[in-house]
């Protein structure tokens, strides 16, 4: 009797992830991010949008301000907490869009015979499109907001997911088990649903977790450039924009949003890397150590 099939593979992956140092640190960072976002929904030490001329440029740990205040007297720590919301939402939403676009295009490219080739070339062309440029164009047309940022980032990263996804799916479609399914009368939809997608899921999962990292960075960049989240919604990218001019006078204020963005991107990147390590060799090791089942 083998114990390999008894545990859920999701749980197993998660546990293996936490055993990797990268996975552990990444998970901690992501948890912090989510925690900040959740907490700020119900409470922040001060209203992050509240302008307080009396407390302009307060240094950290002074007068109850954990991280100090900015040029308008707004509490930095509260802004940081609240900014986590946009970061999390934008990253997750963009990744969802990325997944839909990526998997959708990949399936079309892998499955279609003639049309598949066309879609594949389309993917290759779109990959060259810079995400930020797309976002700026969309913002110019539809106005800057979280939504345009999410859509732009989703499409921009989605084509990369599609490129990897198409390669994996084409490979899966060439396997013997798919051939056997075809001779068993399976339709293309059945084969994609039951054979291709589950087998490419690990690779796509890694891609999407790295997309999360990219999305955080892209959202911050767009907000920094003024094409993303509009005021007064707190955003780390825009915080950087507002504070950067004062870097020589009040350096400590700029550090906080920069560190926050770095931590978030690092967290998702580490988890993505660890996931890649965990999913691939594990499958090979599992297959190699298969215990014999007595007939």
């Amino acid at each position: 009797m083998s114990e390999l099939a008894s545990e859920s593979s999701v749980l197993r992956t998660f546990r293996a992830l936490l055993r990797e140092p990268a996975g552990l640190i990444g998970t901690v960072l992501i948890s912090l991010l989510v925690l900040c976002a959740l907490v700020s929904l119900v409470w922040t030490p001060y209203d992050p949008t509240l302008v307080d001329p009396a407390a302009v440029w307060a240094p950290p740990f002074s007068g109850g301000r954990l991280l100090g205040t900015d040029g308008s007297g707004r509490d930095l720590f509260s802004q940081l907490l609240a900014g986590a919301q946009i970061t999390t939402v934008a990253a997750v939403a963009a990744t969802v869009v990325s997944g839909i676009v990526g998997i959708g295009l990949a399936v079309l490219a892998a499955v279609g015979r003639r049309s598949g080739e066309i879609v594949a070339r389309l993917i290759d062309v779109l990959v060259a499109l810079p995400t930020l440029l797309l976002a700026m164009v969309l913002s110019a047309v539809y106005g800057g907001s979280v939504l345009t940022a999410v859509v732009a980032i989703g499409i921009g990263t989605g084509v990369n997911v599609a490129r990897v996804g198409r390669a994996e799916m084409t490979s899966a479609l060439g396997t013997d088990y798919v051939l056997a399914a075809r001779t068993s009368g399976a339709s293309t939809a059945w084969i994609v649903r039951r054979h291709v997608l589950p087998n490419v899921a690990p690779v796509l999962l890694v891609q999407l977790s790295l997309t999360l990292a990219l999305a955080v960075l892209a959202e911050a960049a767009l907000s920094y450039l003024g094409f993303g989240t509009a005021p007064p919604t707190p955003s780390w990218g825009r915080m950087l924009q507002d504070l950067q001019v004062y870097v020589t006078v009040h350096p400590w204020a700029v550090v906080w949003p920069g560190a926050a963005i770095t931590a978030a991107v690092l967290g998702f990147s580490l988890v993505g890397d660890a996931l890649r390590d965990v999913t691939d060799p594990r499958l090979r090791r599992q297959a190699a150590a298969a215990p014999e089942v007595l007939a």
Binding site: D176, N199, E292
Partner: protein, 265 residues
């Protein structure tokens, strides 16, 4: 004498593949994988072996016989109906009657599916009536595997056992013809004998016609009453297996048989 059309018949099959261009001018070159191949098989006729080495076109022939590929010329007919023009219903009936066991036991089973689902897949996709669960248990027993195998994954089985699972899956829709594409080649010698005996036994018990594609003369000699020798896409010799093996006429067949290593007497 009663003339009935063979259940599965291939006539004048041609299949060629485009080679990548090596120069801009001049015509595009092709590789002829199959040229003018004829074949037929019916349940009860003792089965037919397709002997060939690499490059003979046997894999291409298998794909054409299974209707997962279209010939460039010639037809593959099932019950006298050209498969290329078959309706969805006719194709489904064909797939119920003609099944396959592939060469690599490690690649022919979806690693993420449980064995029970793998064996039941043809039952579901081909709309086979009846209790699927019971049928799966029946099939696993027929190939010598225990019932508990349904909940396990392919990686938990050995190569020989996985091939048995593949055979169980092929038998699920109660086919009349079983195509084996080198089903024994990837197996260890001792296991090969077991699976070969299993195939022979099942063919006899269920009245199946075996189409055995193999480079292993011994397996073909034991399991197939007729044989066809494929060389570079053409059939160079055909006939009763016993006849062809004891008195081969074609020079390639003679060379092939002479090359088979044997133990000193």
């Amino acid at each position: 004498m009663e003339l009935t059309a063979p259940l599965l018949r291939a006539t004048g099959l041609d299949r060629r593949y485009r080679l990548p261009r090596t120069s801009l001018r001049g015509p595009r070159r092709y590789r002829e994988a199959l040229r003018g191949v004829d074949l037929d098989v019916s349940p009860g006729d003792g089965g037919i072996g397709i002997v060939g080495e690499s490059g003979s076109g046997k894999s291409t022939l298998v794909r054409l016989l299974l209707a997962v590929d279209r010939p460039d010329a010639g037809t593959v007919s099932y019950r006298d109906r050209d498969l290329a023009a078959a309706s969805a219903g006719e194709l489904r009936a064909f797939r119920r009657d003609v099944q396959v066991v592939l060469q690599d036991p490690f690649a022919s089973l979806d690693p993420r599916m449980r064995v029970g689902d793998i064996v039941a897949e043809p039952l579901v996709c081909l709309d086979v009536p009846g209790d699927h669960r019971a049928r799966v248990h029946e099939l696993l027993a027929a190939v010598g595997l225990e019932r508990a195998a349904v909940d396990r994954y392919p990686h938990q089985f050995s190569g020989g056992q996985r091939q048995r699972i593949a055979i169980a899956r092929a038998l699920a829709p109660d086919p009349r013809v079983l195509v084996g594409d080198e089903p024994l080649s990837a197996l260890d010698v001792a296991v090969r004998v077991q699976v070969m005996d299993l195939l022979g036994g099942l063919a006899a018990d269920l009245g199946l016609a075996l189409v055995l594609v193999s480079h292993d003369i011994g397996a073909v000699a034991r399991l197939c009453r007729r044989v066809v020798v494929l060389h570079e896409g053409r059939v160079v010799e055909r006939g009763e297996t016993e006849q062809v093996l004891s008195a081969p006429q074609d020079p390639y067949t003679q060379r092939l048989l002479a090359a088979v290593p044997r133990l000193p007497a």
